[in-house]
Amino acid sequence: MAMKNGQIWETRPLEFWDKAKELRAKWEKSIESKEMVVGQGNTGNPGDWARAFPALTIIEDNPRGSTIAAKDMEFARVARLASEVRGWGREICGYHGVLWGTQFLGYQADGSPFPHRKLVVPIPCVCDSHTKRGIQCRDFGAVPQWQNDFTMYLGAYDAEREVEMENHKVYCQLRVLNDIERIFGQKFDDDKIVELLTTYSNVKEYRKEIFLLQTSVPAPLCAKDLYSFYTLGGLLKIDPAELEDFWKSVRDEIRWRVDNKIAAVGTERFRFMEAHPPQYSFLKYYRYLEQYGAVCIGSQYTNFTAAQLERKPDGRVDEREYPPRRDADEYKTREDLVRNSPDSDVRLPHHFKQDEYERPYALNEFADIYNCDGALFGTWRSGIGCTFTRKEQAMRLRKEGYSVMTYEGSQPGDPTDLDEKRFLEQLDCWMETNGLVKYPD
């Protein structure tokens, strides 16, 4: 294979993309007939209620907002203005501002009516912008709201407290499910969730292995792939057997790439991590840094979607352990389902956003596991959950010898505050201080 300028590793397109796109299209087709729309709730996990409620689908603010911003920035700007004139200023995450504005306008980028929600189930979040999802929706449409509440505790581990905290989360979810059944007359199909949980257990091993393989040098996937990968979360709702086959094929391909040193980016010679969603126009700066041989190997935001790896006391890297789930045939009640759901809000004590709060050195461990040389952290004026602790994390990494650059960027989905020229020049500084020169075109 002919090597391009600066290319160190062989690289090839990912073969599973066509299948991934096909599955995604199939899922989108499958929800077209659903009539009820629920606002921000629990999504991206197999315990997703939408699968079990026959007429219910979920409109999540973040994926919708990011899709609008990516596809039609002019419309996104109009939508953000519509949001701002109703008092939601630029301290709100760009994804949210865009989607809320679309709701206020009443139409979408293609002119079709906005799919107003029939009910909302906001979740608490360490990010204040996220906690406001649902509030504006309820106020706008006078729709019922349930709060999927859970508590956070940052002190020392206390088994008794943990049990109570988990009970609280579980009973909140049960109440919401039962209320939706009672009020809207929809039957929640428990068997569909059992089926999905079983599939999840099966694909989980594949997903874990993929991210263990991602620690390899050269990285088989880069952040550009991972953000596409991110959208596959929704595929958990497709036919379970097809889903399992797909994840197996992904695992096999990644394993093959690692065995044969096939890189995501052929110029890889400097690996960096990020923490949370990148700023607007991320593809541009990833490609810019690739000219220096710098590759983003992911972030908690991307890599935690599949597996949270940790360094074990014996030095090996493996997935963080959680209380074992029961086998599907042991699910006797709906409470069993909810309690054993892999939903991060119910079971996982270290959701990617909370991780840094609860474990101050979480990002140091991530950098170590993924063999990073450095880190790139954006700080922006909104979406506090995305930037909180960023400077402190940068300092902790620097103390360990990692090369870290912090910058002021735009927020996700909103380029308003981005000074692109200044940002790219800062990247030049960062690269040159690491002894890296740009490969000639």
């Binding site: 620097r398 500084c429 201080t433 002894g435």
Partner: protein, 269 residues
């Protein structure tokens, strides 16, 4: 080997000619706004004249500074933390940190043992333009740069202006004037705010070395600012005579590949 370094800043362009590791020529000009290339050429010609050399004698020209990409006759560019680090090591071999406070940017670089820069920090976007701001405020307050520079240290309890954003700082300064605060006191408050903002960039570095910190940039000519910055950063800066030309000197050193034996310049795969 004869090389030239050009530091194309927001306010001024500086040029240094380096011959066998000695500075033989210097040139300075206003940065020329949209005509940076011709401004740089004029400064280069001045430096060559002082050195008694012609452009053809130069082996290499390297540009740095905010307008570095706007100089078409430069052979290559180098970024500000690298040139600051090289200049610091050249002028002060025991230097451990370089701080460059210019019209637009504050750059802090700690010098590495195996590479020119161990850590670097650049001011936040809203803290840009400290040097330009001080110049503008001097005009507003009808004071000369020399008068600003000669200001006594501000009392910590005296009038203060916003130290987060120069736009707010300017509004605060005007409010103080309208309340009858003297221009000298307002100027002290403005200088103090600028020093606090620059200090924040220094604090972005994990372990700012406290043994030998070299201060560069146009603001080194403002003694009141330097004193205030020393006070807030709790550092005693070394301010070399060539402080204003340090960026250009660093670029000339990069052009001469100076310090290769000291610095790690290429990452091995």
């Amino acid at each position: 080997m004869i090389t030239a370094g050009i530091d194309m800043g927001m306010e001024t362009v500086k040029v240094v000619i380096l011959k066998d590791e000695k500075i033989v020529g210097r040139g300075k000009n206003l940065s020329g706004g949209a005509k940076r290339a011709s401004a740089a050429e004029a400064a280069l010609n001045d430096a060559l004249r002082e050195a008694g050399l012609a452009k053809a004698d130069l082996s290499k020209i390297v540009a740095t500074g905010k307008g570095k990409y706007d100089i078409p006759f430069a052979d290559s560019c180098s970024t500000e933390p690298i040139t600051a680090a090289k200049a610091a090591k050249f002028l002060c071999p025991e230097a451990s940190t370089a701080v460059d406070v210019g019209a637009d940017e504050t750059v802090v670089a700690t010098l590495g043992e195996d590479k020119p820069v161990k850590e670097m920090a650049i001011n936040e976007k809203c803290a840009a333009g400290i040097g330009s701001f001080l110049k503008r405020m001097a005009r507003r307050l009808e004071m000369t740069q020399e008068e600003i520079s000669a200001l006594p240290p501000k009392a910590r309890t005296g009038p203060a202006v916003n130290d987060g954003c120069v736009v707010f700082a300017e509004l605060d300064a005007l409010s103080l004037l309208n309340r009858g605060v003297s221009p000298a006191e307002v100027a002290s408050a403005v200088v103090d705010a600028a020093a606090i903002r620059a200090c924040m960039t220094i604090n972005d570095i994990t372990n700012p070395a406290r043994d030998c910190v070299v201060l560069f940039g146009g603001l080194t000519k403002n003694a009141a600012f330097v004193n205030a910055l020393q006070s807030y950063a709790e550092l005693d800066f070394v301010v070399p005579a060539e402080a204003e030309y340090a960026g250009a000197l660093g670029a000339a050193l990069v052009a001469a590949d100076w310090g290769s034996e000291i610095f790690y310049t290429k990452k091995e795969n």
